[in-house]
């Protein structure tokens, strides 16, 4: 039995909580992301609902001990449904002075600080730019909190003394001490992490042993140290019954694409260039060679999309993945795909912009670029995922629409849901919507001619694979003659084609679900209309507001171009419409322009997601 947590120290104070937010905070090299993920996995296994938020700097190793180098991992877990990583933390693990400085402002009053004493020596205080005489662990800064000072570094060293490991390896194990201590604090067993360590270091048993020993030492420290007397109990959540896994948004996007490839029977091709925070999709898909997935790391963003266009032309399910700056580079090629009318999925994992902006922080500021960011009038479908697991659904939908409507589709996710994770009641392959694919195998003209731009009832042209005997034809970026696809400079033909390309996209509305309120009723004083990753914060805030008697509802857009057919009618059922976005009001512009509704914007552009508190305050303000 690995479970040490069976004997409880009766002298400790047990606090039962419905949900808790823990923030692991330390240097980029302190292993906080791994610690957070292990904690999350164990919580998920024990049936907690949860939501995570990795929050790290863009520098891989910023100067040690500085505020710039602080890397955080936040997990919100509970016995109720969890939709956000939480506004404030209940527990803050601060590995050094800089971590405390960055994260203390969001620790709840009365919350717990677990501080690593070695990270608060004179040198570290200086690096964190605390004033010369200040020492937050001693000077009263933390009077309103429960402070546990633990010499994590020293304890780890003592625990591993005599193992023959070098100073570096020992230093690297200290995150396991933290994890062990946290598992004790939250009454969670060590089994899952021990199994993980054993698998990860299967070939380096001395490292595995050291990590496990340190993990247990952390647990024992909590158990045996008199002063460490606070324990929390978060019971499992009442979630829909079923089989669950934990998943991040980027991982979900990747397997959504694989699922679409499998269900459509089209081989999957990804042409991509590494860019934060989208690269994990390329990483993940590169693992599935045994399933025939072709990943092509192109020489640049443009080659990424162009290779995908080439693969699509040959009849494969073609994808390119990127973030804002990459989407900007790809725009000309996406215009070509619009002209060629071939399927193409462009995944844009949004980050803070413009320019290099905030590469590791989140934002929703590429919506108007996705809608309009091409030369000429080049309409395409735009979708947005609401949560980590929803990335699976929307990636699948993006492929379905691209293939069935012969069009480029931009899927918008963002750094927040791409890196964040949540439990996912994953589907069975049999439950996935079919994707129908047709290739034209023989001439479609009355006279036996090939008409590449002859459209069906959806206004969709046929997909013709090179290699199909007797179907040789040419297409290109020059304007097409309607039906024949020949080059045409005819003025009226151009106007016809511009309208046809737009109408084809509008018709997609017949093949997507109508919009219904997610929470609340069809009519109310206020509708909060969101899109993309603001889902969790809005849902939580609206539920709380309704519980307090406010007349409010929440609807969330996942299909942005075209909008669901009933959107205008739905919006008119509410006295006021509030549109919260992590930009300066982009959906707001689209809604106001299209439906002439005096919607109210609520904007946050700080590289951080909305908190439930600020969302609810805005709702209450509008209803007072």
């Amino acid at each position: 039995m690995n479970t040490i947590g069976e004997t409880l120290n009766n002298s400790s104070i047990g606090i039962e909580a419905e949900s808790m937010v823990v923030r692991f905070s330390g240097d980029s090299g302190d292993g906080m992301q791994l610690t957070g993920m292990q904690f999350t996995d164990t919580a998920a296994f024990l049936g907690n609902d949860l939501s995570t938020f990795p929050d790290y700097p863009s520098e891989i190793r910023a100067p040690i001990g500085t505020v710039a180098g602080v890397s955080g991992f936040q997990v919100h877990f509970g016995s109720k449904e969890i939709y956000t990583p939480g506004d404030e933390f209940d527990v803050l693990v601060a590995m050094n002075a800089a971590a405390l400085k960055v994260d203390l402002p969001r620790l709840k009053k009365g919350g717990v600080v677990i501080a690593n004493i070695s990270g608060f020596d004179k040198k570290n205080l200086g690096l964190a730019k605390y004033p010369e005489t200040a020492d937050p662990l001693e000077d009263g800064t933390l009077d309103n909190y429960i402070l546990h000072k633990v010499d994590i570094t020293k304890n780890t060293k003592e625990c591993l003394a005599g193992t023959g490991l070098g100073t570096k390896e020992i230093e690297r194990s200290k995150n396991m001490f933290v994890l062990g201590l946290l598992f004790w604090t939250f009454e969670k067993p060590l089994d899952h992490t021990i199994k993980f360590i054993e698998e990860k270091f299967a070939k380096k048993t001395e490292i595995a042993d050291a990590n496990i020993r340190t993990l247990r030492a952390g647990w024992n420290y909590g158990e045996n140290t008199e002063i460490f007397n606070t324990r929390f109990k978060v019971t499992s959540a009442k979630m829909v019954s079923g089989v669950y896994r934990n998943i991040t948004g980027n991982h979900a996007t990747a397997i959504g694409l694989i699922a679409a490839s499998d269900k459509s029977g089209l081989p999957l091709f990804l042409g991509s260039y590494p860019i934060t925070p989208a690269t994990d999709i390329l990483h993940e898909l590169s693992k599935y060679k045994a399933n025939g997935v072709k990943t092509f790391q192109a020489e640049d963003e443009i080659a990424g999309v162009c290779s995908a266009i080439g693969a699509s032309y040959t009849g494969q399910l073609a994808i390119t993945t990127t973030s804002g700056p990459g989407l900007a580079l790809k725009t000309e090629a996406i215009g070509l795909a619009t002209m060629l009318e071939i399927p193409l999925v462009i995944v844009n994992v949004q980050r803070g912009g413009p320019s290099t902006g905030l590469p590791t922080k989140t934002e929703q500021a590429d919506l108007l670029m996705a809608m309009h960011g091409r030369h000429g009038e080049a309409p395409l479908a735009v979708l947005a995922a609401t949560s980590p697991s929803d990335c699976f659904n929307m990636a699948y939908e993006a492929c379905r629409i691209a293939v069935e409507h012969m069009t480029p589709v931009i899927l918008l996710t963002d750094g927040y849901i791409a890196n964040g994770s949540e439990p996912w009641r994953f589907p069975n392959e049999d439950d996935l919507k079919p994707i129908s694919v047709e290739f034209l195998g023989k001439p479609n003209g009355a006279e036996g001619e090939i008409l590449p731009y002859k459209r069906n009832e959806k206004l969709v042209r046929p997909w013709i694979k090179p290699g199909t005997k007797g179907m040789e034809h040419r297409i290109g970026g020059l304007e097409k003659q309607d039906i024949t696809g020949n080059v045409s400079y005819d003025p009226l033909n151009h106007e016809t084609m511009v309208h046809l390309r737009a109408e084809k996209i509008n018709k997609i509305a017949d093949y997507i679900p109508e919009l219904r309120p997610d929470t609340g009723n069809d009519k109310a004083k206020l509708l909060v209309l969101g899109w993309g990753s603001t889902y969790g914060a809005i849902k939580t805030a609206v539920r709380e507001a309704i519980a307090e008697g406010y007349d409010v509802a929440h609807a969330h857009l996942r299909y942005i171009n075209p909008f669901p057919k009933n959107l205008g009618d739905l919006l008119r059922g509410y006295d006021k419409v509030l549109i919260p976005e992590m930009n300066s009001g982009q959906l707001l512009q689209l809604i106001r322009a299209k439906y002439l509704i005096d919607a109210i914007g609520f904007s946050k552009v700080q590289g951080l997601p909305f908190t439930t508190t600020e969302m609810k305050a805005k709702i209450v303000e509008l209803l007072k």
Partner: protein, 344 residues
């Protein structure tokens, strides 16, 4: 012949490769010759017509796609190689031909050009080099000679031009060749060799623009000058040129030397070896480099050809190897991952 007819196998002719579109290049354009030579040799390649794909960029050259009755995409400026990479990676069975120009490949598409050479897809990369921007009506290009007077350089350009074969070799090209529009037989030979070669076959075609850069390459094709200014390479044959084939080139260490055959004899002349990269590097520099103060004739033909593993095949082989070792993962397994839990 009856059995052939029964199976509907008719030998293709050059007409089978002409489309119903009007060819719209200027009268006298070198592109007409290139189109003619392609349509002449394609029936002989033995590739089923439906497996031929032309991908072009932007520029006069790139209209080529519309005139070849095969599959084709006339794409965007500079990106033909990137699109062709996707075509070939997705379906290695297709015979893919990139058609591009000096601006398309060496300026806006320079990055894709060098990476195409390095990655070594099994496709053919034709660059129609006329040393000028023609479709935009006459600006200097990255292959225009220094001092070139054009609309954007009324006082002469101040830039050195690219040497395309040296650039290709530097980018790890496995097949580097040069031919010209006014030598149809030579061009047909080079195009056939490009088709036969497994790997990225780079063919630089000197192409005359009668409107904006007339006669740029005439020295290499006019009777008067051709034999002095050009040298036609043949594998295993000595380097000989001159009006009466009286000149030879030999190597003094790694320095090329021009000799009079009557005095020197044939015995120690440089024998062209397509697989010798050191010699190919020297040949590529018969461009603007002088050796011991002497100018060398411009080489035409296959400067370098040495097969090495190709990208598309490597990609397919890796997939097959991993599939046979690990087996295809069922979709349900991908959806569930390794760690699940049940909530009752």
């Amino acid at each position: 012949m009856e059995t052939l007819l029964e199976n509907d196998i008719k030998p293709l002719t050059s007409k089978d490769f002409s489309t119903d579109q009007d060819v719209k290049w200027c009268p006298g354009c070198g592109d007409y010759s290139i189109l003619k030579q392609a349509q002449t040799i394609f029936p002989e390649l033995g590739v089923p017509k439906e497996n031929l794909v032309f991908i072009s960029g932007i520029g006069c050259s790139s209209r080529f796609t519309y005139y070849m009755d095969t599959f084709g995409v006339h794409s965007i400026h500079g990106r033909a190689a990137a699109i062709a990479s996707g075509v070939k990676a997705a379906n290695p069975d297709l015979s893919v031909w990139i058609v591009s120009g000096d601006g398309d490949s060496f300026s806006i598409g320079g990055n894709h050009f060098i990476h195409a050479m390095r990655k070594n897809f099994n496709f053919n990369y034709l660059v129609f080099n006329n040393q000028i921007y023609s479709l935009t009506k006459g600006q200097y290009s990255p292959t225009s000679e220094k001092g070139k007077v054009t609309k954007t350089t009324p006082y002469g350009s101040i830039e050195e031009p690219f040497n395309p074969s040296e650039l290709a070799l530097g980018a790890k090209a496995s097949f580097v060749s040069r031919t010209l529009d006014r030598d149809p037989k030579h061009m047909q030979m080079v195009l056939k060799r490009a088709d036969q070669f497994k790997g990225t076959s780079f063919v630089e075609i000197y192409q005359n623009c009668p409107v904006f850069n007339d006669a740029a390459f005439f020295a290499f094709s006019d009777k008067e000058t051709k034999k002095e200014e050009a040298i036609f390479l043949e594998h295993g044959k000595p380097l000989i040129y001159g009006h009466n084939d009286e000149k030879g080139i030999k190597l003094d260490g790694l320095t090329p030397v021009i000799v009079n055959i009557a005095e020197n004899g044939l015995a120690d002349l440089w024998i062209h070896d397509e697989k010798d990269k050191t010699k190919a590097n020297l040949l590529s520099r018969f461009f603007d480099t002088t050796f011991n103060g002497e100018d060398f004739p411009r080489p035409f033909g296959i400067l370098y050809a040495d097969e090495r593993p190709v990208y598309d095949e490597g990609m397919t082989m890796q997939i097959e190897e991993i599939r046979s070792r690990k087996g295809r993962m069922p979709l349900n397994k991908i959806l569930s991952g390794d760690n699940t839990w049940i909530i009752a």
